[in-house]
């Protein structure tokens, strides 16, 4: 039997037996990425809506910057957050470097442009259709933005799920600011990178399979939400 198929067999045995080490890593991954997505969404959605609806000097430049940040390399985000949080850095006093909190910050920053840029695009498209009606009703910029976000809720869920997918699958930033410390800051992606380099293929493969499954489930959920919305609201 090749080492390859043996590794697969062992990987499935780890998943099937709910191996405590594997479960711990998966739990931390989910906790970090869910927190990051929640925080980032709460800030990025209003920012995206404001960029679509409000008119102020420098708005176009800001839109270009946010769009450009879509291609932000994760390691660069990790490096920037590392510098900010390191002992000598401006936010060093918080002492959260190499903790899950630092990883949440890094992932939240990483996916912020993704949510803000896609939300801005969605809201801007809808605004063209809604603007006159909402202004006719007397809705100010805030009320109009909230109404648009509410009307676009199903598209926005898809955006947020995509952001979660990017966060949980990302390795560079969490590696730098988390440090991949066993039992403290070791998440799925950093564990896969480490175990692969150590030659412990079963654990790496098991985590890889779980990661794939999570991403797949997310896409299934996004698909059905969209389907349901289209049936319900035409």
């Amino acid at each position: 039997m090749s080492t390859f198929s043996a590794a697969f067999g062992e990987a499935f045995r780890l998943i099937g037996s709910l191996d405590p080490k594997l479960i711990e890593i998966v739990q931390l991954s989910l906790a970090v990425s869910l927190s990051a997505v929640t925080i980032s969404t709460l800030v990025a959605l209003p920012v995206g809506a404001a960029l679509a609806v409000a008119r102020f000097p420098g708005r176009d430049a800001l839109v270009v910057v946010v769009n450009a940040l879509l291609g932000l390399p994760a390691v660069v985000v990790g490096l920037a957050i590392y510098l900010l949080l390191s002992r000598a850095g401006p936010l060093g006093a918080f002492g959260i470097l190499f903790t899950p909190a630092a990883m949440v910050v890094a992932q939240a920053v990483l996916i912020f442009p993704l949510i803000a840029a896609l939300a801005r695009q969605a809201v801007a498209d809808a605004w063209r259709e809604y603007a006159e009606q909402l202004r006719s009703l007397g809705a100010g910029p805030v009320a109009a933005s909230l109404a648009l976000l509410h009307d676009l809720r199903f598209s926005l869920v898809t955006i947020v799920l995509a952001a979660f997918g990017r966060a949980i699958a990302e390795v560079g930033a969490v590696m730098i600011v988390g440090g991949n410390i066993d039992g403290v800051t070791r998440v799925m992606t950093t564990a896969i990178a480490l175990e692969t380099s150590k030659g412990d293929l079963p654990l790496a493969l098991g985590l890889g399979i779980v990661l794939l499954a999570i991403v797949l489930v997310l896409n299934v959920v996004a698909h059905f939400l969209k389907e349901r919305a289209q049936r319900h609201h035409a």
Partner: protein, 243 residues
């Protein structure tokens, strides 16, 4: 129901002009709209009817001239004028939810909203549709909901921009009946239409626009029998065979 003692009307436009990208769309429009008669705006495509209405309603700022209401609305207060568009824009909520949103925007106290919304649905015959998603209603039902939303706050003026352009004759008659009721409740009606039969049914006076200018203003009867200008005459001759 109306809490504002000082009326919006009359509305006066003084030398109003509008040009987009160097192309003049309206020029030198002097106009006074007073409470009472239902005003129908007629004119060929591109005459500037929709732009004129949007300027009156405050959606578009004129590039020349002034728009003066007797007692203008103040920002932050509930609007005392409403507009219904050719294609109703309804939110992805229930029929009732669309009305509740408009009431919330107008800062109507929470406890009054349900009652007002249901009363408005009753007036347009949509009471049994309250819980349905607004976007799956038929075109005619959507436009009736848009009228209910416009009527919610008993506006002093209601602007309508070809509200029946996309509707079949049955739905068109329903809309016209609702517009009559709104008028009967004391609201000034200003309506753009391409349907000359409708202009005669719904209007008291005609405002005829041609190439960005008000070419003629006359009571409906006189306008259709003895148009005073060559442009109006040509417009009526050109349009009538299809109606």
């Amino acid at each position: 129901m109306r809490e504002t003692p000082s009326p919006l009307l009359p509305l006066a436009l003084e030398g109003v002009g509008f040009s987009a990208g160097g192309r003049p769309i309206l020029s030198g429009v002097d106009l006074v709209l007073d409470a009472g008669p239902r005003t129908v705006i007629l004119g060929p495509n591109g005459a500037g009817k929709s732009v004129l209405m949007r300027i009156c309603h405050g959606l578009v700022a004129p590039t020349a001239g002034r728009v003066r209401w007797a007692h203008p609305e103040r920002p932050g207060e509930a609007r005392r004028q409403a507009m219904v568009f050719q294609r109703p824009v309804l939110l992805r909520r229930s029929v009732l939810g669309n009305l509740l949103f408009a009431l919330a925007v107008a800062r109507v106290p929470q406890r009054e909203r349900d009652g007002r919304a249901y009363a408005a649905l009753d007036r347009v015959g949509l009471l049994n549709y309250a819980g349905r998603p607004a976007r799956v209603l038929s075109g005619g039902e959507q436009q009736r909901l848009a009228l209910a939303r416009a009527w919610l706050l008993q506006p002093e003026v209601l602007f309508l921009d070809e509200p029946t352009a996309n509707l079949d004759p049955g739905a068109t008659r329903e809309i016209e009946a609702i517009v009559q009721s709104i008028h009967a409740s004391g609201t000034k009606i200003v309506m753009i239409t391409h349907n000359l039969g409708q202009a005669q049914r719904v209007g008291d006076e005609v405002l005829f626009l041609d190439r960005g200018r008000i070419a003629e203003r006359a009571p409906v009867e006189r306008f259709f029998r003895h148009p005073a200008t060559a442009e109006a005459d040509a417009f009526l001759k050109g349009e009538l065979p299809w109606h």
